[in-house]
Amino acid sequence: MRIFQYLINGISIGSVYAIIALGYTMVYGIAKMLNFAHGDIIMVGAYISFCVTNYLGLPAWASVLAAMAVCTVLGILIEGLAYKPLRGTPSLAVLITAIGVSYFLQNAAQLIWTSSPKNFTSVVTMKPISLFDGQIVITGEVLLTVGVSILVMVGLTLFTSKTRTGKAMRAVSEDRAAAQLMGINVNRTISTTFAIGSALAAVAGVLLCSTVPTLMPTTGSMPGIRAFTAAVFGGIGSIPGAMLGGILLGIIETFSKAYLSTQFSDAIVFSVLIIILLVKPAGLLGKQVQEKV
């Protein structure tokens, strides 16, 4: 019985990783860059949501919309100011700029909202479901996060395969130069990708802080790295891979804490990651691309 509770706990944190990883993997798949500032956009989203509910007294859904709006604008701004001028340069250059953006957002958040932690009020008002005499408890947050991440996964898959913009994104991801020749506006497509990724980050921020209530300027960075790990784990660039990677990472983390060692759970989680990458070098659902000779 206990094992199921741990499984649920794992899925709970795992689905949070998954939804962050979805944003990561989409931006990576299309813009071909590791956006290390993604975790910090999540943090900004959570702060916006916090402010809207706590200072303006608006309902939760309004705070989520506000967070999405602010993060979308922020994402487009960051992309335009910091990433766009570097298009066509080695991906490492953009990576370092992304790190600069990450430092910037963290420190800006500290100046705006101070470093004192805030306790995020969960957007879920549902009472937890208690099964088997309270032996297994499923919180509303778990249901919501799993639901939303599945929704986002399906939505993104449909979006990239069915819509015009989505197809343009896939084209840009496959071959940027060819896409350009086919009349696709590469710059606008990448900006759109960042806009969507950032809006997703806002949702992820709200869900992260609903599950883990402590909100600080550094809140996004560690889950951000975990989610990046999850995205690679599932096969970076693959949308279902990010989902699977996130959930599995959460479950492995919880199980290693529950049954192996709490002290060394970080080491265990990352060792499992390494082992899996050795067996499947492109991640669980990633495509192994053989270079043409």
Partner: protein, 362 residues
């Protein structure tokens, strides 16, 4: 004659300039220090700057020259630091000479880091690109987690090591060397600026020589075109491994010097952020550009310190500077504009100069 041909060679010349710059800076610093003109802050920067230069140059071997993205360089630094501290503590009585003990600690730390690099490299170097990056990141985290829970100490019975306090039983008069999350405490400070300078020279010597040898050519060939390199008989995995191990070894040596420069060091110092910082030095200095790494490590280390006066705003400004410098040095558009401006200034300057010249001629 030989000297002349040597000077003609462009790579030898750049290498020479790098050595000269480092030696000149060292000499100036020594003179200033001797004259008592250096404040405690500047004196305090000297050793860590040397350490970070070595780290940046060694990472440049991996990232710039070999073309592999590593996000776990601080992990090797950490291995070097902690093993160096343990070695120095164990050799306390055997080798009374501080310099010799420091050397032993650095070499020991380097070797251990190199061995760990080798062991990790065997499975890991089958991966490429971002997957290699994530595995090196994972390695850094594993290292941090393990060392953060490591207890080591010496007593009358000798050396003890354990991974929890309860298992760690030191006898009477025993002394902890590494104390779990407290890290290494009560470390005897052995590091000196001169040793840092020697380390920088040694790192430059190894990396630059390697780059200019057949090994370095092979490493660069693997980066430029893996398939072609294989086709001319180069064992790609072996060369990635060589670069990886040498880089880890040098990082370990730098780590040992770092660890022995402070009375305490914690495992959390060697985290993802430190790895990223070293990577920033490399990328900003120019990938594959050794002198660039030396300069950018120095400048970027001093920069946040120099901005202390800005108090709470200093880190946000550091971030802004970082982004702006990246845009200035990499953005194609900006570079174009910059070159136009510099052309204009040049022509303006030359124009003035020529006028003047013309004037004097008349």
């Amino acid at each position: 004659m030989a000297m002349k041909t040597l000077l003609k060679n462009k790579t030898t010349r750049t290498n020479g300039i790098t050595y000269l710059v480092v030696i000149a800076v060292f000499a100036v610093m020594q003179v200033l220090n001797g004259a008592g003109l250096l404040g405690s802050s500047v004196k305090g920067y000297l050793v860590p700057i040397c350490v970070y230069i070595s780290l940046a140059v060694s990472l440049n071997l991996l990232v710039g020259i070999c073309g592999e993205l590593s996000l776990g360089h601080a992990g090797f630094m950490g291995i070097g630091a902690f093993s160096g501290i343990v070695i120095a503590a164990l050799l306390q009585d055997t080798i009374p000479n501080d310099v010799m003990r420091l050397l032993c600690a650095m070499v020991g730390g380097g070797i251990l880091a190199g061995v760990v690099g080798f062991l990790i490299g065997i499975p890991v170097l089958r991966l490429r690109g971002d997957y290699l990056a994530i595995v090196t990141l994972a390695f850094g985290e594993i290292m941090k987690n393990i060392v953060g829970n490591l207890y080591a100490g010496i007593d009358a019975q000798g050396f003890h090591m354990a991974i929890s306090t309860s298992k760690m039983k030191l006898g009477e008069g025993g002394k902890y060397i590494i104390n779990g999350p407290l890290g290494a405490t009560g470390v005897q400070k052995l590091a000196t600026f001169t040793m840092g300078f020697v380390l920088v020279l040694f790192t430059l010597f190894v990396v630059q020589n390697l780059v200019n040898s057949k090994e370095g050519r092979a490493i660069k060939a693997v980066r430029d075109n893996r398939i072609a390199a294989e086709s001319v008989g180069i064992n790609v995995t072996a060369f990635r491994m060589k670069a990886f191990v040498v880089s880890a070894f040098l990082a370990g040596m730098a780590g040992a010097l770092f660890g022995l420069n402070y009375s305490s060091v914690t495992a959390s110092k060697f985290n993802f952020n430190t790895s990223i910082n070293i990577l920033v030095f490399v990328v900003l200095g120019g990938m594959g550009n050794i002198l660039g790494s030396v300069i950018s490590a120095t400048v970027l280390y001093v920069l946040p310190e120099a901005m202390r006066g800005l108090q709470d705003y200093r880190m946000i400004l550091y971030a802004v500077v970082l982004i702006v410098v990246m845009l200035c040095t990499w953005s194609p558009k900006f570079k174009e504009k910059l070159s136009i401006v510099s052309e204009k200034i040049k022509s303006l300057f030359w124009g003035l100069f020529k006028k003047k010249e013309a004037g004097t001629n008349e």
